[in-house]
Amino acid sequence: MAWSANSKTTARLLTLAVGMLGFALFVMPPLYDAFCEVTGLNGKTGGRYEAVPAAVDRQRLVKVQFVASNNESMPWEFKPGVVEMRVHPGEAIDTVFHARNPTGQDMVGQAIPSLAPSKAAAYFHKTECFCFNQQTLNGGESAELALRFIVDPDLPPSINTITLSYTLFDVTERVAHQTDNKNTDSEREG
């Protein structure tokens, strides 16, 4: 009798433990992402934005600053075309960043955006951004990276300056790794 009570308790507790492992692995990361999206925590900006026709607020000017930096091992030259601009909320703006691969190797880069103040993250929409894709640059090659954005007219009046920062990461090895995996997968399937 004691045995069956113990097995029941053990089974229940094991379920709890496995459930918590699943919670940590499969629930917490997406939950965190969702939370960041809602609150703009860490200045995470959203994905591609489908432009909706909205009135441009000609009365208001918001200062938008651009910052470009490299993750520690990234050798590319990376800088914004314009460092600062004043835009009307609701207006679609085009700008560019410049990148050059000064090394002899072909490389792949990935830009990760971050926005300050984080409260503004939900009101900064990108309809076109080089950060949506990885950038491949052959040795010595340079490129103009396009960005098209709209500042939402609902931007809280307390925010007058938005700083958009891009950090450029070297993902050459990561991409090579994933291609290898894909190749082995398709070989297995084939």
Binding site: N6, T9, T10, M28, S118, R174
Partner: protein
């Protein structure tokens, strides 16, 4: 039923006896305590003077990391599990633990986990050097190759803790003697029941976070890598979701031990038994909703800062209830000051100091000043050393006569206490001052103005270390012989463990005792 232990080494290898396994846990944790302590002494020796004298910065970082990991997972947690194994069946009138074979397994995988962890010290690139909190990307992109061994050893420790916790819950829920209702259980049993639930809930989260690290390092995922769309801050959230309950895992059983000792030597029943139970449960609940107070400076909305600040301060309420109850138990008691009582009183006083520095750290705006300074080091050593270590020591002195049948040497016990008490305060109190003055933690070298206090702290650390050798000597001597202990050992102590002979026979309560 009069068969005793098997002769020879296989007794320890194959044993399913809760007393054998409890002893093994306790000896193992003491060995880890000495190992982690030696690492602490390397740290303190290096910090005796500004400049680099003894070790290189790379090795210094390995020492701080390994010291933390070994003390948390190797010394404190197994010691509490060892005490639980020894005492819980005897306190609730059960013949053994509910799952004795799993008990054996959960102990015997531990030495392998720690052998693996310690072996990283001799590997190319050295041992883990990213701090015991192993924040990504320090522990992923910038980690030494040995990090994989660290991850697997954490997995094994986690499995061991979860099995131990399941065993304890099953024992407490199913194996109590007739009449031993939940609200009649000794507080040590209660605090362990709640601790075990915390362990089952958060050790899998720790396993999850190291698994994500493993995937990031070897399988190309990017949970914590911004380059692939992940976020290093996610690591901190997941880690502290485990980490904060973990710090209560290391203190709740201590509350139980102290709640057993103080009434015995104050010769009064514990004041406010049921409020103690509810306070423990409240602390356990609150531990799940305060994790971000470890990372106020990481960038959070103001609402988040405020929520975590107020929730953290709320913990002071149930903790205050406990301290009030212990003090009230002692109030107008006929107190005597044997070694366990000295450690228990020191626990109450010094843990309260650690609690207050915790409240200071809970103030989010002030925390920006204290964050990652020696003030934090002083705070958590004040809660862990007098909190966990002193209570374990008190518990060992309190129950050692029951385990061995011999009285320990009281004079030597008092010498141990005073050396440890003075050593502890000399070590950690000055850290408050250097921390407030701005000395960062985890650095092998420091600015000249911190030299005096660091010198004092280092002297205290060696004193504290020496005190532990007195403890070891006293325990070994008591195990080998000494004055006979009576069955009651102390004057009219409460609890079923005192109704069995001293030393406790290999099998106790084969027939359940009558509980009134």
């Amino acid at each position: 039923m009069a068969h005793g232990p098997k002769p020879g080494f296989t007794r320890w290898l194959y044993t399913t006896n809760h007393k054998d396994i409890g002893s093994m846990y306790l000896w193992f944790s003491f060995a880890m305590f000495l190992l982690g302590g030696c690492m602490a002494l390397v740290i303190r020796a290096e910090l005796f003077q500004p400049g680099l004298q003894i070790v290189q910065p790379e090795f210094f970082n390995q020492m701080t990391t390994m010291h933390g990991l070994i003390m948390v997972f190797g010394a404190v947690m197994p010691a509490f599990v060892g005490l639980a194994n020894w005492m819980i069946p005897m306190m609730i009138g059960a013949p053994d633990m509910a799952l004795p074979r799993m008990n054996n397994w959960s102990f015997w995988i531990l030495p392998f986990a720690f052998a693996m962890l310690a072996s990283t010290l001799f590997m190319e690139g050295g041992a883990p050097n990213f701090g015991w909190t192993f924040y990504a990307p320090l522990s992923t992109e910038y980690a030494p190759p040995s990090v994989t061994f660290f991850i697997f050893s954490i997995h094994i420790m986690g499995a061991s803790s979860i099995m131990g916790a399941i065993n304890i819950v099953a024992t407490i829920l199913n194996m109590r003697a007739p009449g031993m209702t939940l609200m009649k259980m000794p507080l040590f049993v209660w605090t362990w029941l709640i601790t075990a639930y915390l362990l089952i809930a958060v050790m899998p989260v720790l396993a999850g976070v190291v698994t994500m690290m493993l995937m990031d390092i070897h399988f190309g995922t990017s949970f914590f890598s911004a380059a692939g769309g992940g976020d290093p801050v996610l690591f901190q959230h997941v880690f502290w979701f485990f980490g904060h309950p973990e710090v209560y895992i290391m203190i709740l059983p201590a509350f139980g031990i102290v709640s057993a000792i103080i009434p015995t030597f104050a010769r009064k029943p514990l004041f406010g038994y049921s409020s103690m139970v509810y306070a423990t449960a409240s602390i356990a609940f609150l531990s799940f909703i305060v994790w971000a107070h470890h990372m106020f400076t990481v960038g959070m909305p103001i609402a988040g800062e405020l929520f975590f600040m107020y929730a953290t301060m709320l913990i002071a309420v149930p903790t205050g209830v406990k301290v009030f109850n212990w003090v009230t138990t002692m109030f107008r008691g006929s107190m005597t000051f044997e070694t366990p009582m000295l450690f228990a009183i020191a626990f109450v006083i010094l843990f309260t100091i650690g609690g207050f520095s915790g409240l200071m750290l809970a103030i989010a705006p002030a925390d920006f000043q204290y964050h990652d300074t020696y003030f934090v080091v002083a705070h958590f050593h004040y809660v862990l050393v007098p909190g966990a270590i002193f209570s374990i020591t008190a518990g060992v002195y309190y129950w050692l006569p029951k385990w061995t049948g011999h009285m320990y040497n009281e004079t030597m016990g008092k010498v141990h206490f005073w050396l440890a008490f003075i050593g502890l305060n000399v070590t950690f109190f000055p850290m408050h001052f250097v921390g407030l003055a701005g000395m960062p933690r985890r650095i092998p070298d420091y600015a000249l103005q911190f030299a005096d206090f660091n010198q004092i702290a280092s002297v205290g650390a060696f004193l504290f270390g020496a005190a532990q050798l007195v403890f070891l000597f006293n325990v070994v001597r008591t195990v080998r012989g000494g004055g006979k202990a009576t069955d009651e050992v102390w004057e009219n102590p409460q609890g079923l463990e005192w109704t069995v002979p001293s030393p406790a026979p290999y099998h106790t309560f084969s027939t359940p005792p009558a509980v009134r």
